[in-house]
Symmetry: C2
Subunit: 360 residues, 2 copies
């Protein structure tokens, strides 16, 4: 079979060696004669899996010791409620930087719990979508925290600035975590649904500074309570053990690649190859300003949108999967998470070139 390259935005492809290992030990894990998903989360072998996954993630992101790492359920959507319910305390508002679809979705949910101060950070420069500099964001004095989404999966926008504030910064890093270096100590809370750069759908990582654990609303369901989860080491309820195990394998794979420093270099090269090709072509276009182009999600459009269907069909035949853009944006989207090798991006560009030659 020809190489398959899966550009799905999420649930996304996982590293091939991880999937191969998981398959080989699927039924007989650790010589137990059973699967890792069939044992108690409180058994010694699973506790070891859980602890190693946490430690590997701590190593990869240099997470300071005053931060807790939680393995949760409900995805980032659950965090849209969990963040205000955990962090507002007696405050009535929080700042929400609006950079696209997911930032807006977080606001919609936050509206239940407070009056979010929504700061529109989107602007057009030279006909391209861009994000205003953080120094221009009108933060409020009485915000409990400042929320933003550094990578907008649908829009293909990446925010490289950090809010300029001494309030806790809360970041939805679902589609950017582990793709580039970050300084965790600058954040109050980082959360990320796993199904892009971590593991399968069904697990969500929360990294929370430990001075923020005592502010929860009395009405917060316990399964979303950072303090409860922290005290119970993410085992207040039965955790999604198989997703946790797979995430752990991904962390080990990433360490073997040289960690975040090395994967960031590869990700930058992947971005240069794809954006570089798009920019020199008049057949394809990307409408995001170079300052804010996402390294993880690259939406692009054909100059002849009537060819979208043919493009997708021929791409699929070449083993280039899941390139259809989100319905909110249209066109195509190539997601280039850590598990996508440079060869996959090169194969995409080769195909785009052939398609352009045949149809320009």
């Amino acid at each position: 079979m020809e190489s398959i390259y899966n550009f799905s935005a999420g649930p996304a492809a996982l590293p091939k060696p991880v999937m191969q290992q998981a398959q080989s030990e699927f039924i007989n894990w650790n010589d137990l004669g059973t699967s890792v998903m069939e044992i108690s989360h409180r058994s010694k072998p699973f506790l070891k899996v859980a602890a190693e996954a946490e430690q590997d993630l701590r190593d990869l992101l240099s997470i300071p010791t005053n931060y807790k790492v939680l393995f949760c359920q409900g995805g980032a959507r659950a965090q849209f409620a969990a963040v205000p319910m955990n962090l507002l305390g007696d405050k009535k508002t929080a700042d929400y930087i609006d950079g696209g679809y997911w930032a807006q979705s977080a606001v919609t949910e936050a509206n239940k719990y407070c009056q979010p101060n929504v700061i529109n950070a989107m602007v057009e420069i030279d006909g391209k979508k861009a994000i205003t500099p953080a120094t221009d964001w009108p933060l409020s004095d009485d915000a409990a925290y400042v929320h933003f989404c550094p990578n907008e999966t649908i829009d293909g926008i990446e925010i490289n600035d950090l809010p300029v504030t001494d309030k806790p910064i809360v970041a939805d890093m679902s589609s950017t975590i582990l793709s580039r270096q970050i300084d965790v100590s600058k954040y109050g809370v980082i959360y990320a649904g796993a199904q892009k750069n971590i593991g399968p759908a069904g697990i969500c990582i929360v990294i929370v500074r430990d001075d923020l654990l005592d502010l929860a609303s009395d009405l917060l369901p316990s399964i979303l309570n950072y303090k409860v989860l922290s005290e119970q080491e993410s085992m207040f309820n039965t955790p999604p053990t198989y997703a946790w195990y797979l995430s752990g394998l991904v962390f080990k794979w990433l360490k073997a690649q040289g960690g975040v420093t090395e994967i960031e270099k590869i990700n930058r090269t992947k971005g240069e190859v794809l954006y570089g090709y798009i920019d020199q072509s008049s057949f394809y276009k990307n409408t995001i300003h170079p300052n804010n182009r996402s390294l993880m999600n690259v939406p692009f459009q054909l100059a002849k949108p009537e060819l979208d269907g043919l493009f997708l069909q021929q791409a699929e035949q070449r083993g280039l999967q899941a390139l259809k853009g989100h319905r909110a944006v249209g066109g195509m989207r190539a997601s280039l998470y850590n598990a996508m090798p440079l060869e996959g991006v090169q194969a995409l560009v080769d195909f785009m070139q052939e398609f352009e030659q045949a149809n320009a």
Copy 2:
């Protein structure tokens, strides 16, 4: 390798043929060249998986058309909050039948949202733990619903009665769903964490009567809102796709066994074999009254508790895994979910007999 029988209370063993199929198609599912966990939940192939799983569950439990089936995250623990937040409406109380550990855990969480009317249904008859008849439960007039847990995984107690009420009956069926026939039309809400009789940990089934969808609290996180999940066909957030797929395979396996009617017969036989052996022995005991013995979770104690460690060690050597009792009860516990074949129970009894002969 000798046969392994895994008596884990949860995450529990899944049917062997399911695990074998899942392993064989782990990396190349449906000839896509990729795993089912690596494709979009909104892709046609996954939507088919999702719809088939729902239909198979509807067939297995004869779920009436006026009930919605939701595939959620957060386990039954999440439902401990979701139930009151979805169902209280303007009511201030709900009845909670107390039959053991999990019923009590549901009360603890419900306390955040209402003043639960807790009805202690536990009683001792002839030195054995039993449950009072439902006709004796003092239900309140102003309850929004009546909550109970028909099978107490830790205590090994099964409640065969239904509350006598015209209020919505809410049942935590985590460890009993699909093990015996039920009449869904008698319930308002049935919920069940998957990791016992359905699939891997990380997915939770909610079956809800559609007239109960309009009572949700404004403060309910959307990911726990039955109406939102129902309108979005359990895809308001990215669902745990791999757990959903595996649950679907379990449903197909169960249908191939003859459905719930047939598996119930096997489960009854399994219970007779194990309880029958315990009852004729003075070396082992079970402290639950025969009327309320769980078919799914059989706790038992040795007359000489100092031999517990030796029992567990030798059992493990024989491939009889995860028999250690919950710390709250002590001794041993054999969980006999659907995936445990009769031969596994027979192997356990054979070992118990040998151990008794050697150590009585």
